[in-house]
Symmetry: C2
Subunit: 364 residues, 2 copies
């Protein structure tokens, strides 16, 4: 068995798991359907009360005219960028080098839409106003991801966001929000979703990140934009005869978890403090601005794995199922705080971090 | 209220409906999940026991090396054709003028994949061996749809299929099966799914036609082909974190309805006879070769609508929710026989057709 799968196995066998909302099992769907009347009619190829109502609800939450439900964010975002490119007649968009479209989609944007990305900023930092000001290429659209997941979920100052938005409007560049984790950042910004979205021409929201649904996404904007997105949704093969399994579960967990976003954020800050109190461990960002952050261990993957397995086995508590190795020989992983952390006895958490502290010290 | 929606409303208010498996409501999913253990883990981005097992099961049913589950047939088939085109370095495929890709997908194949179709045969007839023999353009792939839905679900002779398959192999043309309704034609051909699929290089099967699931499709072929299809599935935005709501329901209704395909076929033949016994009504094909056929009325849409509404109201039985007008001023609709017909008292069916007979005669 490889070390990675050993850590995974040890994690799976823990009784308590600190990150997330709990196991991604079939019960998630069963719970969401429990109270739904079986006689309710399916949506049919994007039409019907079940999809209309949910689209209207989320459009209103985002402060946009209209919204369209998609099976995935990958599909929704490629389509958003395609529409803005077609509108401007320029097949170029700007985004961060670690944008989801650049690293997780097998180059769908390039292979299917022949859109060329202009990469703004270095990999390890956020896009700033100057990056947009100094951009030489003419682009149809700028995509901002809030929070910037691959660097620990960092966020620009709200003023920077406003300045970038104003600049884009002045330059005739459409501004698209990768808001996969939009609800998770609102407590930090102290803004409503609609306030943040008012800075953007189009917005994507995911239902299986902080919201903890099964799958599915919303793309929102003005009516001309969303109507065109429906045509592309069909072209992509996303206009399914029935999307209700994802719609009903998204709706259920949206209602359940939107009110908890502040709690996840506060818990993430507390949990990050625990990590930062250990030697050779630090979080990025140091103080989280959402429910997520990255944990960096200044030790080798092998060393940290054996420490973690020891802790999982002696406490029954799991911190992560994987570690990612860096080029420098250190390692890290991503934390998203959800329902689990709050249900956790504080004494147990302290015990885990005491052990982590001791074990890491013994490495030196 | 428009006449179309009047017919739809009248149909919805009927107690009994002759075509199909029953209403497409949420209960379909609830029934499928009823006995599933909630602790079973979700599939995760195309991996996990739930998706592996089902893909292996359907690959075996189709007699193919491997199979990949897709959210939709639209996505699966565009990808199949793209792979064959890339392999041959020719961006041309041949298919029927009423192929799903040509008329129901907003030109996804052209817009996303830049593949040009060569239309074989006239709209109102099947592709025959001569069409393939006489094809002047060089194509990477020929797609055959069995049964050819838009002309009532017609089928070529099995010998013709074998000849086309041999010819394609000789000419180096890949043969792809649009087998959305493959299980439905097996009783007529008296072949297994694997026998029919052995004539094809790649096969698509749908789970919400005769099988009556919620949504979802399989694409099957050799391993090199299906592995490449997974990359394109991600590019299309179809590699969802969880596809299990569609997988579990597809599996449930596959097991329930595959054994009933012969019954649907026999029932379709009986039902077609009832229609053909009415004046000015005929079915296409005259004798069905699957569970489906088209009903053609040699009267205007308005006349037939008012007759149907009268019948629905007096008998509580619904035949169709819509009528499609032809250029000649006549009208037609599509029937797919499912679970409903067999549960229907024969006396009630006879009463409906007696009324239809009388009403149509009174038109003259």
């Amino acid at each position: 068995m490889s070390e990675a799968s050993t850590l995974l196995q040890a994690f799976k066998q823990t009784k308590y798991q600190i990150p997330g909302h709990g196991k991604r099992n079939i019960q998630i769907l069963k719970d969401a359907l429990q109270e739904v009347d079986g006689q309710i009619e399916s949506d049919v190829y994007g039409n019907g009360k079940i999809i209309d109502d949910f689209q209207a609800k989320i459009a209103s939450y985002l402060g946009k005219e209209t919204a369209v439900f998609f099976p995935s964010g990958t599909m929704a975002q490629q389509i958003a960028l395609r529409i803005w490119c077609d509108k401007k007649g320029i097949k170029k968009v700007a985004y961060h080098p670690l944008c989801h479209l650049e690293i997780h989609e097998e180059d769908g944007l390039k292979q299917l839409h022949h859109i060329e990305p202009v990469l703004l900023a270095e990999k390890n930092r956020l896009i700033e106003l100057d990056d947009v000001l100094n951009m030489k290429e003419e682009v149809a659209c700028l995509l901002l991801e809030l929070p910037q997941r691959e660097i620990g979920g960092q966020l620009p100052d709200y003023v920077t966001l406003e300045e970038i938005s104003n600049l884009c409007r002045k330059k005739g560049i459409k501004l698209h929000l990768d808001g996969a984790r939009l609800p998770e950042i609102l407590p930090y910004y102290q803004k409503s979703a609609a306030e943040v979205c008012s800075l953007f021409d189009s917005v994507y929201l995911s239902f299986y990140k902080g919201i903890g649904g099964i799958a599915g996404a919303i793309l929102a904007g003005d009516k001309a934009f969303t109507e065109e997105s429906k045509v592309w949704k069909r072209r992509h093969g996303g206009d399914l005869i029935s999307l209700y399994p994802y719609i009903l579960s998204s709706d259920y967990y949206f209602d359940e978890r939107i009110p908890k976003m502040r709690q996840y954020y506060e818990d993430a800050k507390e949990l990050a403090e625990f990590f930062n109190s250990c030697p050779a461990v630090s979080t990025m960002p140091l103080v989280p601005v959402s429910n997520m952050f990255h944990v960096h261990f200044h030790a080798s993957k092998e060393e940290v794995e054996s420490i973690l397995i020891k802790i999982y086995e002696s406490t029954g508590v799991g911190l992560t199922s994987y570690l990612r190795e860096s080029i420098e020989g250190t390692c890290s992983y991503e934390v998203s705080v959800g329902d689990q952390y709050a249900t956790f006895p504080k004494e147990k958490v302290k015990q885990v971090f005491q052990l982590l502290n001791d074990e890491i010290k013994s490495l030196k």
